[in-house]
Each structure stands twice: as structure tokens, then as C-alpha cells.
């Protein structure tokens, strides 16, 4: 299935910070067909470093989408039944307006003059996309990690437009530990002399800093078990230690490879802006409790966490589930056993698929 991305342009978007972004563009892909009643639309929301290419094969890169194992004919998000939409987030670097986009006022990239954005801003832009597509209500909003945060924001900010929400390996707000890891990433980027206060477009990229940030990220996405299984203490292409600071261990090679690969596809300033949006995210949003924040919510929920995910631990999902129960919301929850850490929602999808398939089917039936 070859898919192509589309881009829509809107006049302006008012941001939580008080700033206005004008104009603003959003890049999206879609899979399957919207039915006549427009009741089968599912919005898939990507995680921190994802993009609009969630499924199928990209004609540009030849690569499958980041959730291709979940979206497609006969898969959990069955494109024979559902119309699936995925857009690149605001602040991103894969088509949607972000710090690397041209500021019409100056004719140069925004860089650090780009306004600070929030998860709420991302979701309002997605709602504008949905309006443009003529879709009033979503059968489901779903995503893992930061995608789950957007799904929750959708359910709270647009309660009448969301029938069901499936936040996976996610949280209602970032913990100190999550903020701490993001801050390490940001500091690595800003410590790179090439970062140059964000003004590096058309020049040497802050590749070292961005690569280190990504290396730290990858460690948090895995688990002790999965790293031991994948790398152990195996040496890379040698029988004995090199007694130098070249790559000795397989895990070093992997992290370096992942880091350098990331530099080619991700904008360092987007890293700063999007991680900041994640850190600011708090569903309670100044209210006294999570329960109070969920007052308007009407969606039914499927919440999934993973046993080895120490970046978004199960207790965060359980906090959400308890608050939903205290609101007497319709909520299903399970912690799946997996060794793959936070990455489980992307790579260990067999059981997750069964859950999503059954939950979506029953939601769709109830709607009909």
C-alpha cells in the first residue's frame, strides 16, 4: 500500500501561550475509506519523534509507517472497516509548521522565534484538520506515549467529538523523571556549538548534541531485560577490548547508529519545542484534581500499559483509570506483559492488537 501525504494550510492558530501562528500548515496521511455516515474515523496520534506516516509504504523513502503493524487491512485498526488519519504534530519537522518552517514575516526559518507550543495547541490544529475533512466526530482517538497524551487532551477538550479514546503507555502528566530525561536531551542539543541559539538552518547542524539526546532517549525506551537480551556485553566486531574509546560493545554501536540516523531525519529545534510541550502537559490544567478535569469527558476508554515500561510506568495509567472510575466512565484497562519497555506499544503488538480490535468493534457496534 503506497500512501502519499497531503498538506492543508489554515490562516492562523491561537496558541495557549497567547501567541498566534499565521499561517499554519498540517501534513497528514489517511488510510481506508470514510463511510457515508462519517462514523468510522479514527485519529492516530504519533509519539515524540513520529510523523504523519503511520502506515503503508512511503513513496519517498520506501519505508513502512511507524504503526504499520497496527494499521491496515485486517489489522487492529482495520482499514477495511475504519478510516484512519494521522497528522504530523504542531512544532514537528515532517510537514507541519514547526521551528524549521519559514516565518512569513522574515522569510527565514522561525528557529527560536517560534512560539512555545502545548499538547493542547497540537490537538486544536488536529481539530481544524478534522473540520476541513468534514468529520464531526471520531470513532476513536489513539496513540502511544505523547500520542496517548494527545488522545487524552482530545477527550477532555472535545468531549462531543470523541466516542472512544485509547491512550497507550501514556500519562496524564509528566513526572519529574520524565521531565528530567527531556531536559538532558535539550541540554545536549543546546551544548552543541553548532546549535548557535537555534540558528543553524543552512549551516552545520548540531548533530552531536541531537545524537546524544537521541541516545539517552533510546535507553529510556528500552528495558534492562530487552537490552540484556539484545546486546548483553557482546563486543562489536572484535574478540577483545580495544583499550581505546572506539566502539567496544554492541550497545555502544547501536546507540551511536541510532543517534546519527536521527540527525538525518529530525530537527534539533523541534526536539526542544516538542519535549517542552510534553513537559508542560498536565490534564488537570490548574484544576484541583484529575477527577475534576475529567468532568466533561464522555468517551469510553481502553487504557493499556506495559509491565517493563519504566519511562511511562503502569502507575500513571492506573491513576488515569482510577480517576475515570470515580467519574463512573466506561473504562477498560490492562497491563500487558512485555520485555520491550516503553517501545512495547510499537514492537510487541500481538496482544495489543487483540485488545484494540475487540474494543473498537464493540464501540462501532454500539454506535450503529
Amino acid at each position: 500500500m503506497i500512501v502519499t501525504a497531503n498538506t492543508l494550510r489554515f490562516d492562523s492558530l491561537s496558541l495557549d501561550s497567547g501567541a498566534t501562528l499565521a499561517p499554519v500548515e498540517v501534513t497528514y496521511e489517511s488510510y481506508g475509506e470514510l463511510n457515508e455516515a462519517k462514523s468510522n474515523a479514527v485519529m492516530v496520534l504519533h509519539a515524540f519523534s513520529g510523523d504523519a506516516h503511520a502506515a503503508g509504504i512511503s513513496p519517498e523513502t520506501g519505508q513502512p509507517g511507524w504503526w504499520d503493524n497496527m494499521i491496515g487491512p485486517g489489522k487492529a485498526f482495520d482499514t477495511n472497516k475504519y478510516f484512519v488519519i494521522c497528522s504530523n504534530v504542531l512544532g514537528g519537522c515532517r510537514g507541519t509548521t514547526g521551528p524549521g518552517s519559514i516565518d512569513p514575516a522574515t522569510g527565514c526559518p522561525y528557529a527560536m522565534s517560534f512560539p512555545v507550543i502545548t499538547v493542547g495547541d497540537m490537538v486544536r490544529l488536529q481539530a481544524m484538520l478534522l473540520d476541513a475533512l468534514g468529520i464531526e466526530r471520531l470513532l476513536a482517538v489513539t496513540g502511544g506515549s505523547m500520542g496517548g497524551m494527545q488522545a487524552l487532551e482530545w477527550a477532555v477538550a472535545f468531549p462531543d467529538r470523541v466516542v472512544a479514546a485509547i491512550p497507550i503507555a501514556s500519562t496524564t502528566r509528566h513526572s519529574a523523571q520524565q521531565i528530567a530525561f527531556n531536559e538532558v536531551g535539550r541540554q545536549a542539543i543546546m551544548a552543541d556549538p553548532n546549535w548557535n541559539a537555534g540558528d543553524y538552518y543552512g549551516k552545520e547542524l548540531p548533530g552531536r548534541g541531537l545524537a546524544v539526546a537521541r541516545m539517552v532517549g533510546h535507553i529510556t525506551y528500552m528495558s534492562d531485560d530487552s537490552m540484556r537480551e539484545k546486546f548483553g556485553r557482546r563486543l562489536r566486531g572484535k574478540e577483545a577490548f580495544g583499550f581505546d574509546f572506539e566502539v567496544d560493545f554492541e550497545v555502544e554501536n547501536y546507540l551511536r547508529y541510532r543517534g546519527s540516523q536521527f540527525v538525518g531525519r529530525f530537527d534539533a529545534n523541534s526536539y526542544l519545542y516538542i519535549t517542552k510541550a510534553m513537559d508542560y502537559f498536565d490534564l488537570t490544567n490548574g484544576l484541583r484534581s484529575l477527577t475534576a478535569a475529567l468532568e466533561a469527558v464522555r468517551a469510553r476508554f481502553l487504557v493499556i500499559s506495559f509491565s517493563s515500561d519504566w519511562l511511562y510506568p503502569s502507575y500513571q495509567s492506573q491513576e488515569l483509570v482510577r480517576a475515570l472510575r470515580s467519574r463512573n466512565c466506561d473504562v477498560a484497562y490492562v497491563e500487558l506483559e512485555s520485555n520491550y519497555g516503553h517501545d512495547s506499544f510499537l514492537v510487541d503488538v500481538a496482544e495489543q492488537s487483540g485488545l484494540v480490535r475487540g474494543f473498537l468493534a464493540s464501540t462501532f457496534e454500539k454506535l450503529a
Partner: protein
């Protein structure tokens, strides 16, 4: 009305292979809101949703069972029963079902109280430890009783509470729990006399009166 139909019959047909489910299936009113504690793979909830249009929710501790329940479209969350009940507001459900689980509870009294806080009515089904076969087994073997209903060895039984019909009635009276209906079963047969001796399974519909 449907519950009375059940009462008149000497035999109870099984529902999903269980006679207590058949009683529960009759008791629960259509389009009501039901919470099933220890719902397993959600078979009863699925049946109630499909046949009685109930808004069905469940609590189950086993992750594998929760997965299968969600896969069949039932809203089940993974939790132990005590923690699962605490978060709900008062009178959130029309019925809270505790089917063949009371005897496994660590804090059965607390669970009963919570059931009737969260639900307008409770449906409690449990195996009767006072059944004559249990008594006979213990008397003759001198060991922990083993019967078709209590088949486990003492060291690997999930049951931690050994209650009888008489025990439950006494507790209900003491706690001010109103028994609206009671059903006693031996196999698929309804027991009319001496339930504490003759019933293998008891099903109670209770409320705060």
C-alpha cells in the same frame, strides 16, 4: 416477573454452562448498569450486554482473562476487587455481581458493604459449605472435605472462606442487609427444603432495603 418464572420451575437450565448464571441472567433487569466482580473472561457480561442490553463492566485480576474480556468487547479493568470498588461513586450501578468469588475474598465483609455502596442491589452466588456431602466427606475422611464442588486439596484451594447458607443469612441479618430473593441449587435442580443441608450453590439478591 421473569425471576418468578424461575422460582416456579423445579429445574434451572444452565447459562454458559452454569446454573447460577441462569438465575443471574433472569434476575438482572434489561438496560440496567451492571458491575461484575471477578468477571473472568467476561462471558456473563457479554451475555447480559447482548441479551439484556445492559451497560456491562467488570473487574478481574488476571491479565490474560482481562485481555480476552476486552477482546470480546466487554469493559473490564485489571484490578483486585477491593481496590477496584473503592474509586466508584455511591450507587453507580444497578447491580453489582459477585459470582462464586465471596469464598475467595480476603475481606468478604468489606466487599459486601462496598458492593451495596456502589450498587443499588448486589447479587451474591457462593458454594454452600454446609451441603450434606461436604459434611459427610469431613465426617468420614477426617480430612478437609473434598466434593465435586470443593474439589481442591486443602493446600491448593483458592477458597479461603468456608461459608454456609446459614452463615450468610446470619451475617445479612447482623449487617442489616436485606435479602430480596434467595435461590438454592443442587446441580440444575432447585432446592426447596433444608437449603443449608441440600443446596450446593446459593444465589442471593440483596440490597440495603
Amino acid at each position: 416477573m421473569s425471576a418468578q418464572t424461575v422460582k416456579k420451575q423445579a429445574f434451572v437450565s444452565e447459562l454458559l454452562g452454569r446454573s447460577d448464571y441462569a438465575i443471574i441472567g433472569e434476575i438482572v433487569e434489561p438496560n440496567s448498569k451492571v458491575l461484575d466482580l471477578g468477571c473472568g473472561e467476561g462471558e456473563l457480561l457479554e451475555w447480559l450486554a447482548q441479551n439484556k442490553g445492559v451497560d456491562a463492566r467488570g473487574v478481574e485480576i488476571s491479565g490474560a482473562k482481562v485481555q480476552r474480556a476486552i477482546g470480546r468487547g466487554v469493559s473490564v479493568f485489571q484490578s483486585d476487587i477491593d481496590a477496584g470498588l473503592a474509586d466508584y461513586p455511591d450507587q453507580a450501578f444497578d447491580y453489582v455481581i459477585l459470582s462464586q468469588t465471596l469464598q475467595e475474598m480476603r475481606h468478604p465483609l468489606q466487599v459486601l458493604r462496598e458492593m451495596l455502596r456502589v450498587g443499588r442491589r448486589g447479587i451474591v452466588a457462593f458454594p454452600n459449605f454446609g451441603h450434606w456431602r461436604v459434611r459427610f466427606s469431613m465426617l468420614t475422611s477426617g480430612g478437609a472435605p473434598r466434593t465435586p464442588l470443593f474439589p481442591h486439596e486443602w493446600y491448593d484451594s483458592p477458597n479461603t472462606r468456608f461459608l454456609t447458607v446459614w452463615n450468610f443469612e446470619t451475617l445479612a441479618a447482623k449487617e442489616g442487609i436485606h435479602v430480596e430473593r434467595r435461590f438454592f441449587l443442587a446441580g440444575n435442580r432447585k432446592v426447596k427444603t433444608l437449603p443449608n443441608l441440600m443446596a450446593e450453590v446459593a444465589v442471593y439478591l440483596v440490597s440495603r432495603g
